[in-house]
């Protein structure tokens, strides 16, 4: 077997050196009646060519985003990632290393984590960021628990514009952690009255911008009222590229900013792995979950980096830790850092402008289709349209015509009465031809 260097001769020689005559002597602690006498009922080993063939057949049964006009978003976005990024993250020293427990031989990892933290803090307008969470949704759950630790309260208010999966994660975690959640109704037009829910019992308010329906929200009034009542504002984003054009949540008074970083550096991957971005104010750093990388010096005074403030973490504090997170999204945060370093603020702003321009162009075209109306007054690269009839059905019909039209809102909110609402995302990958194909297919199926 190509992955196993030992030969039969090696094995018998080694057993002799150990002083046993059979490999099962080393498994003697397993109760004899529990030791398997035959192989599991699974196929036997395969050569690389066969494995590629079997896996390739499965891959071929999926329609890839690049192969069709593609407008699917709702928390994961199709962007162009420079080839440099994927090359660099596959370097052995990055790919096959682990959590930098030994900083003297992990300065590569530690330095990019320090760069990552700096980039995330700058983008979100916050003081500090951690070295990544699993993804935006789990980071959102952690943010709520962190707010409870800071405020010593246990009630979270969730905006109806929060991504339904994020709300689901928060609700599941809160229910299990015996914390209260007030989830407002799905808020298609960003017209909900969040302020009236903020009082002295509230630990945190969770608001997404651009929200699940694409609306861009001003957080200042919510932040002010939260702070007047001793609550924290948790600002959420699912499209990090929006921060290239929009006022960052930190400048609108957010206390914790958490979101999905997939759009920068990371492929769609059918939903994961992605990278959760998590930032907050300096005052709350000791209540943060996750790894933190900090600058220090070595024994000769040379600058370097280490994991720090680990007394918050599970491997030190066990049941008193701020989170149970251990392995996070190291390589995805590297992809983010490299792509962000290539973009710089100049490139990020430019590509964000193109996203917005393409979305506006798409919205304008759809507004001209009879029976279709664009519902948003503001948006970045994603918006909702009302279509005649069932949006899920329409998406299937358009897929059959080779156009991925978007996400029917009913897929994530089946009981919201929004069966005729479609979420359409448009990024820098879309062309005039893609938009024309969309409109043509739409007219055919309407």
């Amino acid at each position: 077997m190509r992955y196993l260097p030992l030969t039969q001769e090696d094995r018998s020689g080694m057993l002799a050196k150990i002083g046993v005559d059979h490999i099962d002597a080393l498994f003697a602690d397993i109760p004899a009646d529990k030791l398997l006498s035959s192989l599991p009922k699974l196929p036997l080993h395969k050569g690389e060519i066969e494995v590629e063939r079997v896996m390739g057949r499965m891959a071929a049964r999926n329609v890839s985003a690049s192969s069709v006009p593609f407008f699917v978003g709702a928390g994961a976005y199709k962007h162009h990632v420079p080839a440099t990024v994927d090359h660099l993250i596959q370097r052995s020293e990055f790919l096959t290393s682990y959590t930098p427990y030994q900083p003297e031989i992990a300065q590569g990892t530690l330095q990019y984590l320090f760069e990552f933290q700096t980039q995330v803090a700058a983008l979100t307008g916050m003081d500090v960021a951690n070295a990544s969470m699993y993804d935006g949704s789990t980071g959102c759950g952690e943010a709520v628990l962190m707010a409870h630790r800071v405020t010593k309260r246990t009630k979270a208010v969730l905006s109806g514009g929060l991504h339904p999966h994020y709300a689901g994660v928060v609700q599941t975690l809160s229910e299990m952690a015996q914390a209260e959640v007030v989830a407002l109704a799905p808020d298609l037009l960003a017209s909900e009255d969040l302020l009236s829910h903020i009082d002295e019992t509230v630990s945190c308010v969770v608001v997404q911008t651009p929200d699940f329906f694409g609306n861009i929200r001003n957080l200042r009034a919510i932040a002010d009222k939260c702070h007047a009542h001793g609550a924290l504002l948790i600002a959420v984003f699912t499209e990090v590229m929006s921060l290239g054009l929009l006022t960052p949540p930190g400048e609108m008074g957010a206390d914790i900013v958490v979101g999905e970083g997939q759009s920068i550096g990371n492929a769609l991957n059918f939903g994961g792995p992605y990278v959760g971005l998590f930032a907050t104010k300096s005052a709350y750093v000791r209540q943060m979950p996750g790894r933190l990388c900090g600058e220090t010096m070595d024994a000769e005074g040379t600058r370097g980096y280490v994991l720090t403030l680990s007394t918050r973490e599970q491997h030190i504090r066990r049941d008193k830790a701020t989170s149970n997170i251990c392995t996070n999204s190291g390589l995805c945060s590297l992809a983010f850092t490299i792509h962000m370093s290539l973009l710089g603020q100049t490139g990020l702003k430019r590509v964000a402008e193109i996203n917005h321009a393409n979305a506006v162009a798409m919205a304008n075209l759809l507004a001209g289709v009879s029976g279709v109306s664009v519902l948003n007054t503001s948006f970045f690269n994603e918006f909702t349209v009302r279509v005649p009839g069932n949006a899920a059905h329409l998406v299937e019909q358009m897929a059959a015509r080779g156009v991925m039209a978007g996400v029917p809102v009913s897929r994530l909110l089946p009981d919201a009465g929004l069966d005729d609402v479609l979420l359409v995302a448009s990024t820098e990958v879309n062309t005039d031809e893609d938009r024309a194909a969309f409109v043509e297919a739409l007219k055919e199926v309407l």
Binding site: E104, I105, G271, T308, G330, I354
Partner: protein, 525 residues
């Protein structure tokens, strides 16, 4: 025709004393500043044409202030990150015996397959009809995991081991609630030898953690479990093989004791690599166990993730598995994405762990790894992992101290620091000296149940020659300790890119991001 100009072709006089260089670089070892020190605000490494003029619809919330992040041209970015990579130690660099982490070879065909457009370039919310192959991967992976563990169901979506623990413990909590016992059954037993994630997970969802002392031989005593277990017991979280590198030989009795008390058996599957194809957790009484795909099934550790932590569940817990899950019907593969849909299929899903469907990129790699090994190769891999660890044990037992005696271990071998007593060398010093010898150190100071722990897990990926050199190196270091050559250890590492790092300084006044140096203000005349 070459070398007509008298170019010297022999090295000349060898000088051992190193010269300080002008740059601070040491040939291939390059000093590398932060991107914020080499990038410029108006530089970018991507080329995009400006969009045609259009009417913005940002609702008046345009960014007013600069982000303040510099960019790099493509060659600068390439060089910067290549240089950083050269300051890292990976599995491909050398033996990486980090106990409990299973740093095995990462086959590159898995990377190639994960990047096929049909896997890497597929959106989680495309119509289900356009992702049948992706769902087939999830379904097939689930089948392999159930078959290898002897369990009834799989929750694939957890993002890493600790997230899998959380998922398993949530399923247990949901099952307890369904029996109406939430108010009374809230204690989780956790052995002292457990990973820190175990008690942290239990505490996160408001279980009360009760420690189980480990007996003198490094394992858990079922009689102690039976004494501690009662009507308030929700579960035990037991790692098997445990973090001392030993198989919990009384695991069945422990499971019986927990079940008799009405509790559940959560197994931490971090060490599954020792027993794949040898025994099945389902046959040992386990109710839930996470599997670290990045350990046992070789998805790359990536400098700290991404991982993947699918949880296998017993028949008793299977109905409570979270959404989403894949179903295979006559029409093809379907996804149950919310709890209402799950209920339609007779399940009582406790909720959702994450957005979308979990770590698809890791599922693909793990499945490719499983197909490559097959049932026979997977069992052989476990046997080789255990053989390699015992070979190291046999090679070092006369010099280093084994806290639980010189008896067979599983896929990792645990030493303590009794043999370093009064030598002036600590476990950390010894680990740092290993760096100078070209090795990544083992896990140190864990598990907490032995003093100055050194947990060595070589994995099945090492050849006998590699192990022989490793053993010889550690023996040389041990003799050096005996000879009193403490400087070799206390000043180590000498040959790493940096000297020993000051962690205390980092924690005392944390610097967690780059701040530009204060501008020099010229004094007014």
């Amino acid at each position: 025709m070459l070398n007509r100009q008298g170019r010297p072709t022999t090295p000349g006089t060898s000088v051992t004393a190193a010269h300080l260089t002008f740059t601070g670089n040491k040939a291939l070892a390059q000093i590398e500043p932060l991107i914020f020190e080499i990038g410029r605000l108006d530089v970018t490494g991507v080329d995009y044409a400006a969009p045609k003029p259009f009417i913005s619809r940002l609702g008046g919330l345009e960014r007013k202030n600069e982000i303040g992040l510099p960019g790099l041209s493509e060659p600068e970015a390439m060089r910067h990150y290549v240089r950083l990579s050269q300051k890292n130690y990976g599995i491909d660099t050398g033996l990486f015996p980090l106990g409990s982490c299973t740093m095995k070879h990462n086959p590159r065909v898995n990377e190639k397959i994960a990047r096929m457009p049909g896997f890497g370039d597929v959106h989680p919310l495309q119509p289900v009809s356009t992702v049948q192959g992706a769902l087939e991967v999830m379904h097939t992976l689930s089948h392999w995991l159930m078959e290898l563990t002897g369990m009834d169901a799989v929750a694939l979506s957890p993002k890493a081991g600790a997230h899998g623990e959380l998922c398993g413990m949530m399923a247990i909590k949901a099952a307890i609630a369904a029996k109406g016992e939430s108010a009374t059954r809230n204690v989780v037993l956790v052995p002292d030898s457990a990973h820190g994630t175990n008690p942290a997970t239990a505490a996160l969802i408001h279980f009360v953690v009760k420690a189980v002392p480990v007996r003198d031989d490094g394992t858990v005593d079922p009689k102690v479990v039976a004494e501690l277990a009662g009507p308030d017991t929700a579960a035990i979280m037991l790692t098997n093989p445990n973090t001392c590198g030993l198989f919990e030989r009384d695991v069945v009795a422990i499971a019986d004791a927990i079940h008799a008390a009405g509790g559940y058996f959560y197994a931490d599957g971090a060490n599954f690599n020792a027993i794949v194809g040898k025994t099945r957790p389902g046959d040992l009484g386990v109710d839930a166990m996470h599997i670290n795909l990045h350990k046992t099934f070789s998805t790359p550790h990536g400098g700290g993730g991404p991982g993947a932590g699918p949880v296998v569940l017993s028949e008793r817990l299977a109905p409570f598995a979270p959404v989403p899950f894949v179903r295979h019907t006559d029409e093809g593969f379907e996804l149950a994405e919310d709890t209402a849909q799950a209920t339609q299929h007779g399940a009582h899903a406790f909720g959702r762990m994450t957005a979308f469907h979990g770590q698809m990129g890791m599922y693909v790699r793990a499945l490719a790894y499983m197909l490559s090994h097959g049932a026979d190769g997977l069992r052989q891999a476990s046997e080789d992992a255990v053989l390699n660890a015992n070979y190291i044990r046999a090679g070092l037992a006369d010099l280093m101290s084994l806290p639980f005696g010189n008896r067979p271990c599983m896929h990792e071998v645990l030493f303590d620091d009794a043999w370093l007593k009064d030598t002036g060398v600590t476990t950390l010093d010894f680990a740092k000296a290993m760096i100078d010898e070209g090795y990544h150190p083992m896990t140190v100071y864990f598990p907490l149940v032995v003093h100055g722990a050194m947990l060595i897990e070589p994995t099945e990926s090492e050849s006998r020659a590699s192990l022989d050199l490793f053993i010889a190196t550690l023996r040389d270091l041990a003799f050096s300790v005996q000879r009193g050559e403490t400087e070799r250890f206390t000043g180590a590492p000498y040959h790493a890119p940096v000297k020993r790092m000051d962690e205390t300084r980092a924690a005392r006044s944390p610097v967690l991001k780059y701040a530009p140096p204060a501008p020099i203000v010229e004094a007014a005349e």
